[in-house]
Symmetry: C2
Amino acid sequence: MKKYAYGIDVGGTTVKCGLFETDGTFVKGWEIPTVKDNGGAQILPDIAAAIKGSMAEEGISADDVEGVGIGVPGPVTESGVVNGCVNLGWGVYDVKTALSGLLDGAKVEVGNDANVAALGEMWRGGGKGYRNVVMVTLGTGVGGGIILGGKILHGAHGAGGEIGHITVNRNETLACGCGKKGCLEQYASATGIARKAREVLATPKAEGSSLLKVENVDAKAVFDAAKTGDKTALAIVDFFGRTLGQAVATITAVVDPDVIVVGGGVSKAGQILLDAVVKYYTPNAFNACKETPFKLAVLGNNAGMYGAVKMVLD
Amino acid sequence: MKKYAYGIDVGGTTVKCGLFETDGTFVKGWEIPTVKDNGGAQILPDIAAAIKGSMAEEGISADDVEGVGIGVPGPVTESGVVNGCVNLGWGVYDVKTALSGLLDGAKVEVGNDANVAALGEMWRGGGKGYRNVVMVTLGTGVGGGIILGGKILHGAHGAGGEIGHITVNRNETLACGCGKKGCLEQYASATGIARKAREVLATPKAEGSSLLKVENVDAKAVFDAAKTGDKTALAIVDFFGRTLGQAVATITAVVDPDVIVVGGGVSKAGQILLDAVVKYYTPNAFNACKETPFKLAVLGNNAGMYGAVKMVLD
C-alpha cells in the first residue's frame, strides 16, 4: 500500500478535496468551485488540476499515491459509470476512465455520494468496526447508502440504497422531486419536517406551542422545541420517528445490517431523534433485527472524502 | 474444480439430496426422511450417511467431490452457523463444522433455504445470466432471497431477504406467524390469497362468481377463475398484485437488482400473476428501477439443491 490517497466529494456548488494517508489519517482538505458550464465539462479537469497541484505543493510523486476516490451526486454503476447527474449537467459519463486519463492512468474509483459517505462512516465514523451498514442521511432530502461486507451496494442501475424513495404514504397528494408520491423523503427530510410543522401549527392543536413564535420554522427549531418539552414539537418529532422507524424496519428485513447510522444535518438533533426512531423501529422490525443498533454519524461533511479514499484502498 | 458436488435441501418432512457435476449437470436426486427426534440430532448424520452411500454406489472417491452445500429452513450466518430452526428442533448450531466433521473434512457451505433457492435460480433458472437477483417465493408463506454480485446476502443475523415480513398494512388486526401484524406474507402467500378470497366471497360483491361453487377456495382456484375472466377472482388477483407490486418496489429501491424472480407454488399461475404485480410495481418503483424485469422461476422444488451446489463452487 502506497502512502497517500485523495478523496474527492463533488457537490453542486463546491468540490471537497482531501489528501489522506492510506492509514486513514486526514492530512489536508480544501475546496474548489464546481463549474457547471458546458454540461459540467470542466469539473474533472479542475479536479485533476487540483490533485496535481497538491502533489506538487506537498512534494508527493505519483508513485506515492494509491489512487483517487470520487463521490458524485447521481447514480453510479459498479464499473464507475455515472448514469446522469442533473445537478452537474452530466449525462451518462464514464468518470472512472475519464479522470484516470487526466491523472496519467492513476487508479480511480467512483461512487454515488450518499453511498460513499456511508462507506466513510463505516471506515472511520459511526459505523466503525462494522462491515454491514445502512446509512440514512437526513438533509434537504433523504439519502441512503448500504455497505455489505465492507463494500458499497451500487445496484444494477446505480440505485442501491435509494431509500429516500421508498413509498411510505399511499395517500399523499403532493409529488416528490422524483415524481412519485408519498416517498420517505417527503416526511423524514429537513424539508419534510418543516412542512409537517407548518401543517400542525396551522391547527388549533398547536395552541400554546413555542413554535408559534418562531418565524420560518425549520427542522432544527422543531427538535429544539421538543427538547424543552413543547408538546406540539414532540408530536411532530413522534410523527417523524414513526415514519422513519417503520421505513428502517422494512430496510433491515431486506438487508439485515449490523448497524444503522443516521447522519445529515437533521441528525445533529442527537439522541432525541434516535429515540423517536427506535421507538417505532423495534415493534416493526423482524425478530432477528429488533436489536440492531442505531448510531449517529460522526464525520459530518467529511464523510464523503473519507469514503472516497476507502474505495481506492479495497 | 473437481467433477462432482452434492446439493442438499433440508425440509421439515424430507431432505432432498442431489448429486451434480460441477458444470451444473444434475446427475441424480433422491429423498430421505427428516428425523426430528432428539432436537434433530440425527439429521446431519443421516445426510452424511446418504452422501457416503451415494459415493460408494456411484464409485465416487472423496478426491472427486468439490464439496457439499446445504440449505436449511432457518437463519444462517455467513460463517455457516444456524441461528435456530424451529421446524427441525435445532437451536444455535454450527452446521458447517458439524457436517464437515461427519464427512472427513469435506468442504461444506450452509445457507438459508430461501436464499439458497434464489442462488439456484440465478445459476440455472429464471435468473440465469444475472448476478444481482431478488427472488420472491410464494408458497404457504412468502420467502425471499437476495443475490448480489453472485453471492447470497446472508445478513448480519441471517435475516437477509426476509421480505415476507415487511409490514405492508399497518391496520391489520391478525398476527403473522412471526408475531407482527400486517406482514407481506399475510397477503401474498397462498394462505393469504385464500383468506382474502374467503373475505370477498362472503360479501354481496361476489354475486355470480364461479368461485362461490368451489369448496375450500385456494390460491390456485382464484387464479384459475381469474383466467376465465371471473370478475371477483380478478379483483382478488388485483389486490394481490397491488400488495406485492408495491412491496417489490420498496425492495428494489433498497437493493436495485438486475431481475426479480418469482417462484413457489403460487407462481405456477404464470403470466397473469406477473402482469398483476408489474401493473403496480412500475408506478411505485424508483425511476432507475422501473424497467427491472420480472421472471418466473423455472427450477421448482429443485432450486434449493442447485443453489446448494452453487455455494460450494464459489
